[in-house]
């Protein structure tokens, strides 16, 4: 159960130091631009920007590759589906497969776009700790408070959920081993059987989680937590000139990609 998404890489690069809000806005805007622009020239501009950003992050390529490798299947699937089903004059036909230059071109474009999209998103998650990211999102969601959406509370919930994932994985492992010691079999049998064998694992996991939640809530209250009260942060979000510069550069890149 190692990293399946590009996990935060502790570092001190320029990108690490940028405000999570600026990074989130820049990445979202670039992602939208990627979807809007459908030419290889535009894609090339965004790909170059993404590669440059990745290089600036100082994250070893192996770190990204480990997270990206499982996604290769998705890229391959996108490619094959496009090649097979895309319209165009076929230069090769067999049964339901019709290969056309137009189809190949489209498949290449869509798969490359997916790769660039993953790269752009990864630059954000690789250089931003999840807590900073949730804080940033809570800030960006602030207008929703007017609609009585408890954004700060939701952000804290997400932080706590992320904090407890490793704890729950350890717990899951313990329960599964306990059940295996009593003769449970999670590896064999049909899908139905294997799903049923998970019930005696999930029930205790839920029960334990609820008890954890109770105790955690008590410990939070003991440390003066009150939902809705004004809180300050040890690491307040601070946007500076470099964050402004990031937004300007991103806007320029987007414009360049749209105009080429």
């Amino acid at each position: 159960m190692k990293a399946t998404i590009a996990q935060y890489y502790a570092g001190d690069s320029l990108l690490h130091r940028l405000d999570p809000r600026a990074k989130f806005v820049a990445v979202s805007a670039l992602a939208v631009a990627l979807f809007v622009r459908d030419s290889f020239a535009g894609l090339a501009v965004y790909a170059a920007a993404a590669v440059l950003a990745y290089a600036l992050s100082g994250v070893p390529v192996a770190w990204f590759w480990r997270a990206f490798r499982p996604l290769l299947w998705l890229v391959a699937l996108t490619f094959v589906a496009q090649v097979v089903f895309a319209p165009g004059d076929p230069f090769f036909s067999f049964w339901f497969i019709h290969l056309s230059w137009r189809g190949l071109e489209l498949a290449a474009f869509l798969s490359l776009r997916l790769v660039v999209l993953v790269l752009v998103g990864s630059v954000l998650t690789l250089t931003t700790p999840s807590m900073a990211l949730t804080d940033g999102l809570a800030w960006l969601g602030r207008p929703l408070r007017r609609l009585r959406v408890p954004t700060d509370e939701l952000a804290l919930m997400v932080t706590i959920a992320l904090r407890f994932i490793p704890t729950l994985l350890v717990e899951l492992d313990t329960i599964m081993r306990a059940q295996r010691a009593r003769g449970a079999d999670f590896r064999h049998g049909g899908l139905g059987e294997r799903t049923r064998s998970l019930v005696p694992v999930l029930v205790p996991l839920f029960v334990l989680s609820f008890r954890r939640a109770d105790e955690l809530a008590l410990a939070m209250e003991a440390r003066c937590y009150r939902p809705g009260a004004v809180r300050t942060r040890l690491h307040p979000l601070r946007a500076g000139w470099s964050d402004f510069a990031l937004l300007v550069v991103t806007a320029a890149v987007i414009a360049a990609g749209l105009l080429v």
């Binding site: 999840s130 807590m131 932080t159 904090r163 105790e215 955690l216 209250e221 300050t232 040890l234």
Partner: protein, 283 residues
């Protein structure tokens, strides 16, 4: 009435306290009196189900007493909502399971959690958190994620987080019960240091050895006070100790075993040092 803490008044001034869980047939705590003064170290002992953890939650202002003649924590009235909320600032409560007390994704953010809730300015918070990390030997671990910590480190982080908010008294609910011997020593050492610095401590435990150094021992039995006095006074009556569902400190058990084999020692040693001294005296 609920506020204005008085420096000379007891930290806990509780009389005739009752607590009954919703739907329960009997009181979990019944007619309990407890007074704790500035600078005291009070150990609370009791068998499982004697109401120890309930007491910790009530003292911390985390639960509403069902009834009480009076229940004051640091001058705050625990019978009213506002009083309980104020009590949560002055009374620190550390629970048994360190895992279920850590909220944040790294040590220093967790230590800051209480201060964040009280809306401390970031600069003051930074200084306070750094001081706490230094005090509890956590500086090297400040960016460490909770699941990468040992049990003792987790509980020290939780303790630092409780104490980061300036407290007048600390209530600990079996803080070493889930730790290995090394972790237990780490936490005990930290608690003793804080007490030496003048902080009053209410130490709830099942470990007889941990109660020995206390200024005063209170034993809960069936939700009420079954004994109050010194540790030596409690352990001197072995029959009562058994009846209360307790045991003797390791040194005391050993001395009794020796006595049964005809090697009676003078007095009942409660610590290893006392045992060694008594053995030195023996013929």
């Amino acid at each position: 009435m609920s506020s204005s803490p008085d420096e000379t008044a007891p930290l806990f001034d509780i009389s005739g306290l009752h607590y009954r869980y919703a739907g329960a047939q009997a009181d979990a705590l019944a007619d309990l009196d407890l007074t704790v003064h500035e600078g005291e170290f009070v150990a609370v002992l009791g068998a499982n189900g004697s109401g120890k953890s309930t007491l910790a939650r009530l003292l911390g202002g985390l639960e509403k007493p069902t009834a009480a003649r009076h229940a004051l924590a640091c001058g705050h009235d625990l019978l009213v909502e506002d009083g309980r909320l104020s009590a949560r600032r002055d009374v620190g409560v550390l629970f048994q399971n360190p895992e279920n007390q850590l909220v944040a994704q790294c040590v220093e953010d967790d230590v800051a959690f209480g201060l964040e809730n009280l809306a401390w300015p970031a600069a003051d918070m930074r200084r306070r958190v750094d001081a706490m990390l230094a005090r509890f030997g956590l500086e090297e671990l400040r960016r460490r994620e909770p699941h990468m910590l040992s049990g003792g480190q987790k509980q020290r982080t939780a303790l630092a987080g409780v104490i980061a908010v300036p407290r007048r008294v600390l209530v600990l609910d079996e803080p070493t019960a889930m730790l290995d011997p090394a972790g237990r020593d780490e936490v005990l050492m930290a608690v003793r240091e804080m007490h030496a610095d003048g902080l009053a401590v209410v130490y709830i435990t099942q470990e007889m050895d941990e109660a020995v150094g206390a200024d005063r021992v209170v034993v809960l039995g069936g939700g009420t006070e079954a004994y109050a006095g010194t540790a030596a006074g409690l352990f001197a009556d072995a029959v009562r100790v058994r009846r209360l569902g307790l045991g003797l400190p390791a040194a005391g058990e050993l001395a009794l075993a020796l006595a049964e084999r005809g090697h009676a020692l003078r007095g009942l040693p409660l610590t290893i040092d006392e045992l060694l001294a008594a053995l030195g005296d023996a013929p």
